[in-house]
Subunit: 292 residues, 2 copies
């Protein structure tokens, strides 16, 4: 029997319902959820910015866009962040990657104010995650966990194998899975026998950006496979997982249409959370089921 397709759409719809309900609690004393998006010249960053604009507009969330010139100096970047931090009408800040060449990732992590850090890139939010007490978590890995939660797939007590150790997906995902009581193995380009490890996974996560990396022989029959890989091949978006894995896995996220759309919805949840509009009990329930 081919694997169940874990599509993102119903997860996004569930999150949107919760977001719309949370927005009912807006009062004149609450700042309106407003995201400042810092957009570099890179075409994929600009495409992501368009997707954010579209989805946030559907949710009546405000977006303000700031274009970052490739020649931007660190001083000007820091000034912009400082200005957005002191602007009380801005409740969240997102700096899309790749940053202009003169702005390092550590500059971003140091400068991003944790109280407006909608994608958990600041050292403080990363530190909370590292210590097992996550605050605002990067949207892509959190989206993967919420997707499993939506489909009723248990994380606690299971062996999760993560392929890829990027600071955007693999590393925070590992920390999140650990906090959710999974036993976690993290593999990467220096792992000698990848298949030997992936075949042990109850839950297999891949974020390597290498199309066709995960073939059926690398997957335990009945495993759940979550694909964060996104590579442009010709005109198509392709994940890391060979489609034939659907014959072995019990469940599989498609690319496109799997983890990707959930990421943007989680950004919106994080924005509401920073604006103190996310009902504590809703989030606690999530935390209780998956993130404690």
């Amino acid at each position: 029997m081919p694997a169940q397709l874990l599509t993102g759409t119903p997860v996004v719809e569930e999150l949107y319902t919760r977001i719309r309900s949370a927005l009912q609690n807006l009062s004149p004393h609450t700042p309106y959820p407003t995201l400042a998006v810092l957009i570099p010249g890179d075409p994929s960053a600009q495409a992501y910015a368009r997707a954010i604009r579209k989805h946030f507009s559907n949710l009546c969330l405000q977006v303000r866009e700031f274009m970052l010139d490739d020649q931007m100096e660190e001083f000007d970047f820091l000034q912009l962040i400082k200005q957005l931090d002191s602007d009380t009408s801005v409740t969240g800040i997102l700096a899309l990657q790749p940053l202009p060449p003169r702005i390092s990732k550590s500059t971003l992590s140091l400068a991003m104010p944790p109280t407006k850090d909608v994608d958990g890139v600041s050292y403080e939010q990363q530190g909370r995650l590292a210590l097992g007490t996550p605050g605002v978590v990067p949207s892509t890995p959190l989206g993967g966990i919420l997707l499993l939660q939506h489909y009723g797939i248990t994380v606690a007590g299971r062996h999760a194998v993560v392929i890829g150790r990027s600071p955007v997906v693999g590393r925070p995902l590992t920390l999140l899975l650990l906090t959710a009581d999974a036993t976690v193995t993290i593999c990467h380009s220096r792992t000698p026998d990848l298949a030997h490890l992936t075949r042990q996974a109850d839950l297999l996560f891949t974020a390597a950006g290498r199309p066709g990396l995960v073939i059926p022989d690398m997957v335990k029959p009945g495993a759940v496979v979550v694909d964060f890989g996104v590579t442009v091949v010709g005109q198509r978006l392709v994940g890391d997982v060979d489609p034939a894995v659907a014959e072995v896995a019990s469940a599989l996220t498609p690319v496109p249409g799997g983890t990707g759309p959930v990421t943007t919805a989680v950004l919106a949840c994080n924005l509401l959370r920073l604006a103190r509009l996310w009902p504590e009990e809703l989030f606690s329930k999530t935390k209780h089921r998956y993130i404690t």
Copy 2:
């Protein structure tokens, strides 16, 4: 053939030599390395404070001690940290665990100034570690890595299994091993079949605080076993590893006398680093070999 004993003493001696050499670079313009130690009433914290005093005194490093009352309020703790932060004659701050009941760990991580954070407990230093660009790293896990380095044991490309996910050892060790190019599996109390995973370890690290947890059957022949477990049994300190493991492992850290003494020496290295007295090339060499 019984396992090689990886004792801490020669590692400590090597680090002390490097520390003494670094102290030669002291100038009137460099602040003298001075550690403020915050000591709660707990007897094991007080014993650790005595060990620090003794070893730092041997190295001519200054120590100032501040006793923390069990009734201490958060406000007073924050005031003390603030005062030590603004005191230019203090170059490092260490708050021993367990903290007084009214001081949470998140208060400590938030309040600890990263530039004086000698044990890497601040969110900023934890965040740097999480993102794969470690700055000042918690002394116990870094000591374990330096111990392996001293004995010429390779980390990169090997499968490391970590037992325990505490914020003090298991979690930062996992992140450090990952940065050192190991493939890492992290196990804990919710791991269903611990032995199945530990038997796959080239490098097995245990920090569970459960005497006798690791028995020979759980260890791959020839594996290297690093024991961070410390439990007081009667009058003795006992690790997590059954002594019979020495018949299976190729190398093993003893308890006491293994990872423990290295921890205090690493604290001293971290203190010098914060005082900008640790020669960059020495540390970079370490980083190049093990922490990049």
